[in-house]
Amino acid sequence: MLWIRRFLLRLQTLVRRHRSAQLLNDEIQFHLEQQIAENIAAGMTREEARHTAMRSFGNPTVLKEETRDTWGWTRLEQIAQDLRFAARMLRKSPGFAWIQQLRVLLVGGVPLPYRRARRRARGLFFLAPVFRAPSFSSAGLFSINGFCRQSGHPPG
């Protein structure tokens, strides 16, 4: 069962994240030392050998980061962060946040002048009651991907 194995491997790098990162350091350290030793054996001074080894390796910091990305948690961590943020927003003003999400979904996330948004919203007859809700008139109607503008009345 390949997918189970893959899942377990992933889990391992998540649960033992620090350990995995440490092992990656060791792995790359070993590589560099091997290369340095070979360069010295080929007649370079220690400094030259180190320099040449680093050059043929590339930027270790960047490569370590790239390697950690392959463990597949970077994107998930970002998603988790976004979800936490979204949840905080939802708790703060549940009704408003949901309507904003619906609006982004149905009308698009672009801030439109108020009236155009209203006209479009009226076209979506099933949304009309929502858009007439009193809680809505006082709050800003516009959002860019869920970021709410709360101050004052909408323009137009």
Binding site: R6, L9, D26, E27, I28, F30, H31, T67, T70
Partner: protein
């Protein structure tokens, strides 16, 4: 001179799988071997092996084990899994199909 950026990602995967097929090797040995066998034509930027190795490991095509080297140091040795062996066959077949097709085009006057 092929630099790693010139190597298509899939090609590097194939080279790695092929290189560790006979026996487990650590990253440095893999880099050396690819360079040697290709008679220095393929100069893999050594560091770029590691993202590839870890990606292949996550796909469970290769597995890794920390072992002592001849010099008594601990190193991470990679070897093929059964799935990796199947993948190697698939990618090798793809490669020869692709390269012979390109040959046909290039050599036809």
């Amino acid at each position: 001179m092929g630099k790693p950026n010139d190597l298509v990602q899939g090609t590097l995967d194939l080279l790695i799988l092929k290189t560790i097929a006979p026996e487990p090797k650590h990253g440095w040995a893999i880099a050396k071997r690819i360079q040697q066998i290709s008679r220095d034509v393929l100069q893999v930027q050594q560091g770029s092996l590691y993202p590839a190795l870890h990606r292949l490991e996550q796909k469970a095509w290769i597995k890794a084990k920390w072992k002592e080297t001849e010099t008594g140091r601990q190193a991470k040795f990679y070897s093929l899994t059964a799935a990796g062996r199947a993948q190697l066959e698939k990618e090798a077949a793809n490669w020869s199909r692709l390269s012979s097709a390109i040959n046909l085009v290039v050599e036809t006057t």
